[in-house]
């Protein structure tokens, strides 16, 4: 089978010159609409004067859901189900970070079985989200299409196979969490009912069988990226930056670990208070964040940069096949890093399932024994898009006094903007269409999930009316 390779907009030297391409001493102000194929709403703009980029902004105008306000006064049992609904794609990650924070506040230890099941769910969530992003959101760019639909029509069998990875991850989350999205079985203190042994064994078999499908996807992406201007060796789209992720000396991090910065090393203070400062920029309503520099990056690429040694041997091979070596400062490689993590997640899940199938495991824990107490707790979790931190303060009855959710998409806003400022000067001679596309591609590389905070509506519709 041959893949039809078509560059989305060729490389920058022969870009199309439609739509208002101007030269000379004119100020060009270029806005993207709401960037599509990302979760949530954001817009980008650049102002070019005299072939110089004078302003480049990534605007996240989140509208209002006030999840933290909803949490105030909530009983601890309602907290995880509420925060799961912050985001449909990261619902498992939000649930797990929330449980971790609540358990830290109450001083609860969870059983080894619960810990393993949660890790299994976390890895399945990574596989689910990454395949969604790579296949449905980024692949169309690489193939030069507007959506995944043409790919599905041209290669239905292959599309079915790569989307099967997502279905498998969904099945695992259904088995552990009780629902594909917004898990219900993950509760403070433990898991009531152990998953069915036969179903778990089937998941293990399916995981081993799906490696071929992942290899198919890796081969496809490799054929499209190895010579692509965004991804290739020596690409100009590279900016030295700080990476932050969790780090665990024994395994690839999910939720056990300490915060690690590529600039300053590990910090045992999980609560970001003092380590990462969040601030509100004068534009937009999304919080931005900084550590020692103006911005930092979180996500798959940050995790791999900080934890490459902990990857499984097979995952390292995937990295090699895709031309990813650390340290890597090319933001577009985040998509590639996600594929490496897919393999890592599959390998980790097989190991976890083997541990769960061992004698003495898979027992029903029954209703968890939770005794609320007043106190604060922090949960830090590596979700598909990066490090997620939940900080709660409880009163003695187990009701939330104060809740603070720090979401990885927010951490990346600053980095996206810095990338615009660094890379857009290469494109000042290009057409508006090309620049708009580049900004969309950059945003998508970070796999932002702006719905975490909420939505702005696309005004274009209203204006056109």
């Amino acid at each position: 089978m041959t893949w039809i390779i078509k560059w989305p907009m060729a490389c920058r030297h022969h870009g199309d010159h439609g739509d208002g391409h101007t030269t000379g001493h004119v100020t060009r102000s270029i806005w993207t609409g709401t960037v599509d194929r990302v979760e949530g709403h954001g817009k980008a703009m650049v102002e070019i004067h005299d072939r110089k980029v004078i302003k480049a902004l990534w605007l996240v105008n989140e509208s209002n859901r006030f999840i933290e306000a909803m949490l105030r006064g909530s009983n601890y049992t309602s907290v995880a189900p509420t925060v799961a609904r912050v985001c449909g794609i990261c619902s498992v990650g939000h649930t797990l970070a929330s449980l971790q924070a609540t358990e830290a506040a109450f001083g609860i230890d969870i059983s080894e079985q619960t810990r393993l099941l949660r890790k299994l769910a976390a890895n399945a969530a990574i596989l689910q989200s990454h395949t969604l992003h790579v296949v449905a959101l980024v692949l169309p760019d690489l193939l030069g299409d507007d959506s995944i639909v043409p790919f599905m029509q041209k290669h239905p069998a292959e599309a079915g196979r790569v989307l099967g990875l997502k279905s498998l991850a969904n099945d695992i989350n259904l088995l552990i969490g009780g629902k594909i999205t917004h898990p219900v079985a993950l509760e403070v203190g433990g898991i009531r009912k152990a998953p069915d042994r036969c179903k778990l064994e089937k998941c293990r078999t399916d995981l081993e069988n799906c490696i071929d499908d992942l290899d198919l996807l890796v081969g496809l992406v490799a054929s499209l990226t190895l010579n692509h201007p965004y991804y290739k060796d020596g690409s100009e789209y590279e900016r030295e930056r700080e990476f932050i992720s969790l780090h665990n000396p024994n395994e690839y991090p999910t939720f056990d670990g300490v915060l690690c910065s590529s600039d300053t090393g590990c910090s045992h203070v999980l609560g970001h208070r003092g380590v990462i400062r969040e601030y509100m920029p004068p534009y937009g309503t999304g919080l931005y964040a900084r550590h020692v520099r103006k911005s930092f990056m979180v996500g798959a690429l940050a995790r791999i940069n900080n934890n490459f040694a902990m990857l499984s041997p097979a995952a390292k091979k995937v990295a090699e096949a895709l031309g990813l070596s650390v340290p890597c400062h090319k933001p577009f490689m985040n998509t590639v890093a996600q594929l490496v993590e897919c393999r890592q997640a599959i390998d980790a899940m097989v190991v976890i399932i083997d541990k769960l199938l061992a004698p003495g495991m898979l027992y029903d824990e029954g209703a968890p024994n939770v005794k609320p107490r007043a106190g604060c707790g922090v949960g830090a979790h590596e979700v598909p898009r990066g490090t997620l931190v939940h900080e709660y303060e409880y009163d003695k009855d187990g009701r939330i006094v104060h809740a603070n959710l720090k979401v990885p998409t927010g951490f990346n806003h600053g980095s996206i903007q810095e990338d615009f400022k660094t890379f857009l000067p290469y494109l000042v001679d290009e057409s508006d269409v090309r620049i708009r596309r580049f900004m969309g591609d950059t945003v998508r590389a970070y796999d932002p999930c702006i719905s975490c905070s909420v939505h702005e509506l696309d005004e274009d519709i209203i204006i056109k009316r």
Partner: protein, 264 residues
């Protein structure tokens, strides 16, 4: 046969999980080829509107939280034969209904920065508060199996069927042991809202040993008093039951209580 022209959009505040369930359909390639999907921002670049000016069905998720949302929903309503509310947030405000009114007030007066201040902010609205809604697909998030059924029904031109009986019926059909009879009762989560909740989810939560959260909304004519009695018999106070109801059904429950107050 001409393909049905459909669009998938969002009204404002939502987590996009309901749209995600469409992408979760296992037979996505087949589904995609049997419809003409004109708008689906989560999955495709926006097509120009010249062609997309009319639709056979529009699926909208999320609650409306500002004026632009109202405009958008009306825009879709004018251009579509069927308008479907996708999930709890669009159907009856879902979890967004939990926003404390004082927070909305603070937002209006500028506590959240100047951006929100200049914008119309109000308590979340369901789609049916603004336009005529032809169908509500219940669930938080919607069940992908049910979504597929409804799409099939649309294609075949028959009326889709949303169960009108309570979750308990379905739970018993599946042979799940009753949550109220299982161990550890009364400790918060195993309080089950099955008796007042609309069926159709295949009793997923009781299957994992956890009580129903009521994410599919109320069954027609829910009997709350009977639920409070059952819960009380198992040592759960009314306030705990109400807290769980308010998780996803705060708005319809408030309306129920108001109506009850009027009758008295």
């Amino acid at each position: 046969m001409t393909k049905l022209r459909i669009a998938v959009g969002e009204a404002g505040a939502s987590c996009e999980a309901c749209m995600l369930q469409l992408l979760n359909l296992e037979d996505l390639p087949a589904f995609v080829s049997s419809f003409d999907i004109l708008k689906f921002r989560l999955a495709q670049a926006d097509s120009a509107d010249e062609q997309g000016d009319s639709y056979d069905a529009v699926f909208i998720e999320g609650s409306i939280t500002h004026g632009e949302g109202i405009e958008k929903v009306r825009w879709f309503r004018r251009r579509t034969k069927l308008l479907v509310a996708l999930g709890a947030c669009a159907g009856w405000c879902g979890i967004n209904g939990r926003v404390p009114p004082e927070t909305i007030h603070d937002a209006r007066t500028g506590a959240y920065g100047s951006y929100i201040k200049g914008r119309q902010v109000f308590e979340p609205l369901a789609l049916s508060d603004v336009v005529k809604v032809d169908l509500i697909i219940p669930g938080c998030p919607v069940d992908k199996g049910e979504v597929r059924e409804i799409l099939e029904a649309l294609r075949a031109g028959r009326t889709p069927c949303i169960p009108q009986y309570s979750m308990c019926t379905e739970c018993k059909h599946q042979g799940e042991p009753c949550i109220y009879r299982s161990e550890g009762k009364g400790s918060g989560h195993d309080l089950c809202l099955g008796p007042i909740t609309r069926a159709g989810c295949k009793a997923k939560c009781p299957h994992t040993g956890v009580g129903c959260f009521g994410c599919r909304g109320f069954v027609d004519c829910p009997n709350f008093e009977a639920l409070f009695m059952v819960a009380a018999r198992h040592g759960v106070a009314k306030e705990h039951v109400e807290e769980k109801i308010n998780l996803i059904n705060k708005v319809p429950y408030r309306e129920y209580k108001q109506k009850k107050g009027e009758k008295k």
